[in-house]
Amino acid sequence: MSRRIIIVEPRGLAPWWLKLLIPIASVVAALALGALFLMLTGNDWIEVYAKMTDAAFGSGRGFAETLVSATPLILTGVAAAIAFKMLVWNIGGEGQLMVGAIAAAGVGIWLGGGTPPIIAITAVVLAGAIGGAFWASLSAVPKVYLGTNEIITTLMLNFIALNLMQYLVLGSFSPWRDPEATQFPQGRPIIDSARIPEFFHRLDWGLFIAVFVAILAWFVISKTRTGFEYRIVGDSFNTARYAGIRVPKKVLGTFLLSGASAGLAGSILVAGILGKMDPRSLDLGLGFTGIIVAALARLNPIAIIPVAILMGALNNAGPALQSIGVPTATVKILQGAILIFAVAGEFLIGNRFRRPRESVDETPEPAKEASAA
């Protein structure tokens, strides 16, 4: 083994400013990488970034659109964060969102036109949460009782949800399909009283539902007895069992709540900006972007809010780029780069580098199995 020049070792306790600095630095680094890419493809990166900033934050309408994009990302971000914190690898936010949308639209269509708004909105929004939780339960129950791998099941169920959603509108004459749409199949509009009111351009009150859910998640995790139990389980299954906590129940609970949060994203889209189950507008990778949001927020539900707004801004800025001849996919590159830098930054929070001391000999390390017995 050659002599090491740099020693990497676990860091004790990372200072608070580092935990803040590193995510910000990852965004900056990703933007720098993006700038390099833009330069290499012959674009004026300053112009592109200026255009993006303007589109996302430069006007009231633009900012409203940014928040509209951020709303579902807050919820899918919370969905990923609470699951990952408990070592439940739910990557089915995508499918849970879609099934939430199906359930929400179903209730919104089925309700009579005379239903008072408060009841109608509540019913539609909750239907989405229940739908998402139901879809999550299809992975959660086998995981807890049979030990199946949730990464595989949630991923597969994403595709089933997508096909189901498309079938209901594009492939059949189900109640979800608008009978009046003669040209191209469309989702049937939900009743007007179930629509969440807008208050600033296209932005509706769904944003506050999402922010409330994020704050609630934070509160439950850090301030309640149940949250303490979740934190113990997320830290060590064995220790949780030892402390008398019923681990399977907690894992199941987390998984369902995670699915409910993603499902809520679907129902808020249906009851908010869409007004119907529109398969195209629900198939934008919002569940997967939520995973990026959660990772960048270091699984902290409060931090998810600003991170989701940043990601929303990027999404929102994408179409504006086309007007100056830059591909919309630039936004995807930036989002991907941010994730990679954030994950790399996570390593820096947990470890530090130092030069080896001159005098110390390199001690051979015992193999992992070293039972010095």
Binding site: S236, Y242, A243, A372
Partner: protein, 513 residues
């Protein structure tokens, strides 16, 4: 058979003055060892005596810090296990190195440089079958590893070495995972291999096995060689004394004055291990208020299953556990905590503590459900802080900083925090597994004091340990277990090294030694 006339009969392996330490702690010190060709040589010693380390040195997994290794008379340094195997030295580790999803034949071929890019399943399987039959070691070469029993997997490990034509086979506690019948067949195969001229190193701490299979025994204690004898001359009594060592120093502590009521009563307890074997096999013990009962035994004889069966972490197959006169056998872990079972598990960070949470959080791990920690569904951060600070002060837990995950504390401080939490809750029984394992002298003394203080205030203490010093320093009564059964019981004041050594190695009291 020893043939003294052939003076040029060089040993297969000879170790001279081998030292090996980990992070400044000696695992082997000045070890001299010689393995003759065609012999089965047992390495005998307690847990932690340095047997596995020595084997790993010979198998090329570790490199000695100093000393010389002669292989067939020539000084040799193995750079890796691969290197060692190429020279003909192979080892079967306690934890098998097999690929579960591959077949037996594929596992044999794995790592063999002679197997090129093209694999012929049928050729490999035929070879594997032939090899198995030659040593009366039948395994289905097309079976996948996960389909095999542990005993069969071990055969594959041995066949793997034979497939590479290893001349020296090192078997690290091979019988620990075997049924007695499987053990018998292993011994037959070992004899056959020795008769072919191969040399075998056999690691064990069971005296009857030493007698059954080996030609020569080297006894290790605390990393050093205590002695080497021919098996025919070895008296179990002597081996036991060599293994346990030093005349036991009986601790100077006041005996418990009054023993109270029965607190823990265990009747015919049977608990299965993860493999479904009866690891605790019909055990009955009573622990009274105000006494420490020590469970002595070599690790892997049912200690884990006994402790976890009592506290409810493992399912009790049959028998019963009574606490203060109530049958608690089938109660949940939580119900047992509430009824008064405190438990200091062997693994601090693996079970007793939540490594990523703070010390204050960990100190509340058993009591957070009640006031002052909980107010209705909410937690009181102030109570966590205040109660935490009190316990940290009272039990002298050092190194705590706000927000610091507990895993970053030292072993002694971890244990102090763990014991603090367990003894402040209401309880009548304390179960502790190897509570001073890995601690320095100061922390060991503190932990022992806490346990004796528990006894003096009338708690029933069940101490499960592999460390005889610890057992003798703390226990009033000693119970020796072997293969999940009680093989002897005595007052701590009557214990001798020889008697404990024999019992722990599976000799029954009434058998002639």
């Amino acid at each position: 058979m020893p043939d003294t006339d052939q003076r040029n009969d060089t040993p297969a392996i000879e170790l001279r003055n081998i030292d090996k330490s980990f992070y400044g702690v000696f695992a082997n010190a000045d070890v001299n060892f010689s393995l003759a060709k065609g012999e089965v040589h047992t390495l005998l010693g307690e847990n932690g005596a340095g047997k596995s380390t020595l084997c790993s040195v010979m198998a090329g997994l570790y490199r000695p810090d100093s000393g010389e290794m002669l292989f067939d008379g020539k000084p040799t340094v193995f750079k890796s296990p691969k290197d060692a195997l190429a020279a003909g030295v192979g080892m079967v580790y306690q934890h098998f190195r097999l690929v579960a999803n591959l077949t037996v034949a594929e596992n044999l071929a794995l790592g063999n440089p002679e197997v090129g890019l093209r694999l012929s399943q049928s050729e490999l399987e035929a070879e594997a079958k032939e090899l198995g039959e030659r040593y009366d070691f039948p395994v289905d070469p097309s079976a996948r590893i996960w389909q095999l029993s542990v005993g069969q997997q071990q055969r594959v490990e041995i066949l793997k070495l034979l497939y590479r034509d290893a001349k020296i086979l090192i078997l690290d506690e091979p019988t620990a995972v075997l049924t007695p019948q499987e053990g018998e067949s292993l011994f037959r195969a070992m004899r056959m291999l020795a008769d072919e001229g191969r040399s075998l190193i056999f690691v064990s701490h069971k005296l009857h096995e030493v007698k059954a299979v080996s030609d020569r025994v080297t006894v290790l204690r605390e990393g050093r060689v205590v002695g080497a004898v021919d098996t025919v001359d070895a008296e179990p009594r002597d081996l036991a004394r060599m293994m346990v060592g030093k005349d036991l120093v009986l601790p100077t502590r006041k005996p418990n004055e009054s023993v109270g009521d029965e607190v823990l009563v265990i009747k015919d307890l049977v608990v299965e291990d993860d493999r479904g074997l009866d690891a605790v096999d019909g055990l009955s013990i009573t622990v009274n208020a105000g006494e420490v009962v020590g469970i002595a035994g070599v690790s892997g004889n049912g200690q884990r299953e006994l402790a976890q069966g009592i506290v409810g972490l493992m399912k009790v197959k049959s028998g019963s556990v009574y606490l203060d006169g109530t049958d608690v056998t089938k109660m949940s872990v939580l119900a047992k905590i509430k009824r008064g079972i405190a438990y200091v598990p062997q693994s601090r960070l693996g079970m007793g503590l939540a490594p990523g949470l703070t010390t204050e959080d960990n100190l509340a791990l058993k009591q957070y459900r009640e006031p002052p920690y909980s107010k209705g569904p909410l937690l009181s951060a102030a109570a966590f802080k205040q109660k935490g600070a009190e316990l940290i002060e009272q039990f002298d837990v050092r190194g705590v900083r706000p927000g610091l995950p507990i895993r970053l504390l030292s072993g002694g401080n971890l244990q102090k925090a763990l014991i603090a939490r367990e003894v402040v809750q209401d309880h009548s029984l304390l179960i502790a597994r190897s509570p001073t394992r890995g601690l320095d002298v100061g922390a060991t003394a503190t932990v022992r004091d806490h346990i004796l203080a528990e006894r003096d205030r009338g708690i029933a203490v069940l101490l499960i340990s592999e460390d005889l010093d610890e057992l003798l320093a703390l226990s009033d009564r000693l119970v020796v277990i072997y293969e999940g059964r009680i093989v002897g019981e005595m007052l701590a004041s009557e214990a001798t090294a020889e008697r404990l050594g024999l019992l722990m190695s599976g000799h029954q009291e009434d058998q002639p030694a």
